[in-house]
């Protein structure tokens, strides 16, 4: 299993995407995968973990209106900030 490069190791509030739990929302803070970025995994975008099992080698996430199957290796290159989603959603609704 590949791990995130040293320069993108998550800090306290920021974790790799594959560490979110089921139905947890987060905001993407950095994406080190070009392809994922092109597909909408851009900083500032809300992401929700739909399915994460330790036995499975991919996770299922929702980004905007799309659903993605993301291999763990890619998920570890996407960093997300936990606990800020609600604020962002409120701002969006305003």
């Amino acid at each position: 299993m590949k791990t995130a490069p040293a320069d993108i190791q998550p800090n306290a509030g920021v974790v790799a995407l594959d560490l979110l739990t089921d139905n947890e929302d987060a905001i993407i803070s950095a994406c080190h995968s070009n392809k994922a970025r092109d597909m909408g995994f851009a900083p500032g975008v809300t992401v929700r973990m739909l399915r994460r099992r330790s036995s499975e080698l991919a996770v299922v996430v929702a980004v905007a209106d799309a659903r993605f199957m993301v291999s763990r290796a890619v998920a570890q290159q996407i960093l997300v900030a936990r606990g800020v989603t609600a604020i962002r959603e409120d701002q969006a609704n305003e």
């Binding site: 590949k2 994406c31 080190h32 995968s33 070009n34 392809k35 994922a36 970025r37 092109d38 597909m39 909408g40 851009a42 900083p43 500032g44 975008v45 929700r48 739909l50 399915r51 099992r53 036995s55 499975e56 080698l57 991919a58 299922v60 929702a62 980004v63 905007a64 209106d65 799309a66 659903r67 993605f68 199957m69 993301v70 291999s71 290796a73 890619v74 290159q77």
Partner: protein
């Protein structure tokens, strides 16, 4: 000629729109990566001929895979006169990223918001006028699958092409400028900035009333992707597909075979003999073209059924979910879950399956997937299984066919494990794959798709089979004329027979004896097209049967011949098979291919060993050509050698084990030879792997094109 390119994200309905605009019948499906190479057609718009190009889906103007590269090259290097950018209205935020990049390029652009029906259902409301004003390009609503919005689009294209309407994006690049005024590039910062542009662009354009999560697809996914239900459900679905394709179509195969035999062979022969036409012409028309056409017709039901079922699966949106379910298994053999889709496409036809590998990022993954794809039984092999199942395993026919499909999958897994540990060391590349929204498969699309696949199979097989039939008949007649033997002389040996008999010793260990040399000819022509196996068997068996019949009794042209009574029995049997009527008092005479197969193969073990060989041996010529082109000729020859040797070893192992009690000493020798052959092959791969032959590079974290 003016060129219009259709560009957009994957699975946004580009090919559906292309088919609508041009009347073409390009393949469509509900997953990303159905179109892997550009398709072109000429459409008549505003009275002028226009070249319309359907491009593979791209998320941005950065290419990560071969299919994306094809789209990128066309847009950037060939510069079409106009781009119709198809945007998924139900996922507009993601789709507009590419739109902004296209506007930045300065190419005239028209935006089509497709899937507006889905967007409406999700409570997404888009102010199209504001969006058009902000972008400075025409924007339309459309539901391409139903054809709505097409007239408006065609009217606009007419105006643009006639010069009546000019497209000038209000401020190309103005959405995506850095603070110093330079255009943002594809660097992480540039991408981030463009994404922010999209979000600000959508302010005041999109209103959402419905929930973003917990949609119907999400709820279904909870079951379909679950650990406990996912795999059993997948197996049940696959069994259902084969039950429909084989179980439901079996009576039809018998019906078509008997009816075609009655009209195209027996009836035609009676008619031609009544007209006292030359014997050679009668032989060519009846034993050649008639028998060949009857064989081709008989495999129409299962081929139509399998493509119809696969069409339903592909249109429903289930395929990428199955990729998720099988991800772990595929990882074990060194492939990413995404490789499941090309493998699944292989159940229809190996050629598109090989082309589908273009969506995989890593070259190693692509080649390994290409080598394993032929193990998935293509539709062309299904008629062979079905007819043999009818001949030998009537009540267990479904299970036998399903067992063959499963055997193919298991051999793919075993081969994957072997190759992963030898010449393809490493793990499958990292990947990211979009899961489409579920939809009720449009019946019309599924029927159209099944029909067009069936037609192409019939044409391809018909050409091969009829050509072979004519050549064999002419050869036979020429040899009879040369040797002075009469038609009733059963002792003469034809050239084809001589060649086949010489090759029979190679196949004897798998149950093909000298009297069944025709089976070897079937395997040889199967290299051209797998569906030819059945047609060839029909032609060569019927020629021999005809000779024997002539030898036994002189034909009497005045003898009574009735179509009505046999036809009544055939139709009665069909109705009885489907439970619509009681069985006829006497079953119809089984004079067609099924009885020939039964009499030549003699035992179920020999028949199943033959089917195993057909399942595993070298891919057909068309598939080999594509394999050589896509992976390299070295891998093509590897595939031919590996699969043919494996086919022989597996068929021999099965037959010798099944008939062990008849001659234990002989069986032991052949079992030893077959196992030694397998061991030798594995050792050769180990040695080659240690020497670094193959593709033993470690995959990067993501696509090499980054």
């Amino acid at each position: 000629m003016t060129t219009i390119a259709l560009a957009g994200n994957p699975n946004t309905g580009k090919t559906t729109l292309f088919n609508r605009l041009t009347g073409a019948r390009e393949r469509i499906g509900n997953w990303s990566g159905v179109t892997v190479e550009r398709a072109e057609a000429v459409a008549s718009i505003a009275g002028q001929k226009v070249r319309v190009v359907d491009l593979p889906g791209i998320y941005s103007l950065s290419a990560h895979t071969l299919d994306e590269q094809a789209a990128y090259d066309f847009i950037v290097n060939e510069r079409p006169d106009l781009i119709v950018n198809i945007v998924d209205a139900s996922n507009i935020e993601r789709s507009l990223y590419l739109t902004l990049q296209l506007i930045d390029m300065g190419v005239p652009l028209v935006v089509v918001l497709n899937f507006t029906d889905i967007a409406t259902r999700r409570g997404i409301r888009i102010n199209v006028a504001t969006l058009a004003q902000k972008l400075g390009v025409p924007v339309f609503f459309s539901v391409a699958s139903r054809g709505s919005g097409m007239k408006k689009l065609e009217r606009t294209l007419t105006k643009i092409l006639s010069g009546e309407k000019q497209i000038e994006p209000s401020h190309p690049g103005s959405w995506c400028l850095h603070s110093d005024g330079s255009l943002c590039d594809d660097s992480p910062q540039g991408t981030e900035m463009r994404q922010q542009c999209v979000r600000s662009l959508l302010e005041g354009v999109v209103r959402r009333d419905g929930p973003r999560y917990e949609r119907f697809s999400d709820r279904v996914d909870r079951v379909i992707l679950s650990r406990w239900a996912g795999l059993p459900l997948f197996l049940a679905i696959m069994y259902g597909v084969f039950w429909v394709a084989v179980g439901l179509s079996e009576p039809l195969v018998e019906f078509v075979d008997s009816t075609a035999q009655l009209f195209l062979v027996d009836g035609l022969r009676h008619l031609l003999e009544m007209w006292h036409l030359p014997a050679l012409l009668v032989a060519i028309l009846c034993d050649g073209i008639g028998v060949g056409a009857a064989a081709v017709a008989s495999f129409a039901p299962p081929i139509f059924a399998i493509f119809f079922c696969l069409g339903i699966l592909e249109e429903s949106g289930y395929m990428p979910r199955a990729a998720f379910v099988l991800d772990r298994i595929l990882r074990a053999i060194g492939l990413p879950g995404k490789a499941f889709i090309p493998l699944m496409v292989g159940f229809g036809c190996t050629v598109p399956a090989l082309l589908s590998t273009r969506t995989l990022e890593e070259r190693r993954d692509r080649i390994l997937t290409m080598l394993l794809s032929p193990f998935m039984s293509c539709g062309a092999r299904l008629p062979v299984y079905t007819l043999f199942a009818l001949a030998f395993f009537e009540k267990r026919g479904n299970m036998i066919v399903f067992a063959l499909y499963i055997t193919g999958v298991l051999l793919a897994v075993a081969s994957g494990l072997l190759l992963k540990r030898t010449i393809f060391r490493g793990d499958g590349g990292a990947y990211i794959m979009e899961l489409p929204t579920y939809q009720i498969p449009p019946l019309r699309n599924c029927l159209n798709r099944a029909w067009f696949n069936l037609r192409s199979f019939l044409i391809r097989a018909g050409q091969v089979i009829i050509l072979i039939a004519i050549v064999l008949t002419l050869l036979r007649s020429a040899e009879e004329a040369w040797s002075g033997a009469s038609e009733s002389d059963t002792t003469t040996t034809s050239l084809s027979e001589t060649v086949a008999v010489a090759a029979v010793p190679l196949f004897e260990p798998m149950g093909i004896d000298r009297d069944n040399w025709q089976a070897v000819i079937g395997l040889m022509t199967g290299l051209m097209a797998k569906e030819s196996v059945i047609g060839t068997l029909d032609v060569v068996y019927s020629q021999q049967a005809q000779r024997l019949a002539v030898a036994e009794a002189e034909p009497d042209p005045e003898a009574s011949f009735s179509i009505r009574e046999p036809l009544r029995l055939i139709v009665g049997q069909l109705a009885a098979d489907y439970g619509l009527a009681p069985p006829p008092e006497e079953p119809p005479d089984s004079t067609g291919l099924i009885s020939s197969i039964r009499s030549h193969f003699k035992t179920g073990a020999a028949a199943f060993a033959y089917l195993l060989f057909v399942l595993i041996y070298s891919p057909c010529l068309a598939a080999l050509t594509v394999l050589g082109r896509e992976a390299g000729w070295r891998w093509m020859w590897f595939s031919v050698a590996y699969q043919t040797l494996l086919a022989w070893a597996c068929a021999t192992l099965f037959y010798q084990l099944a008939t062990f009690s008849q001659d234990p000493q002989r069986a032991t020798i052949w079992l030893f030879v077959a196992l030694t052959a397998l061991l030798f092959m594995a050792l050769l791969l180990v040695v080659k792997g240690r020497r670094g032959v193959g593709l033993n590079e470690k995959p990067q974290a993501e696509g090499g094109a980054q």
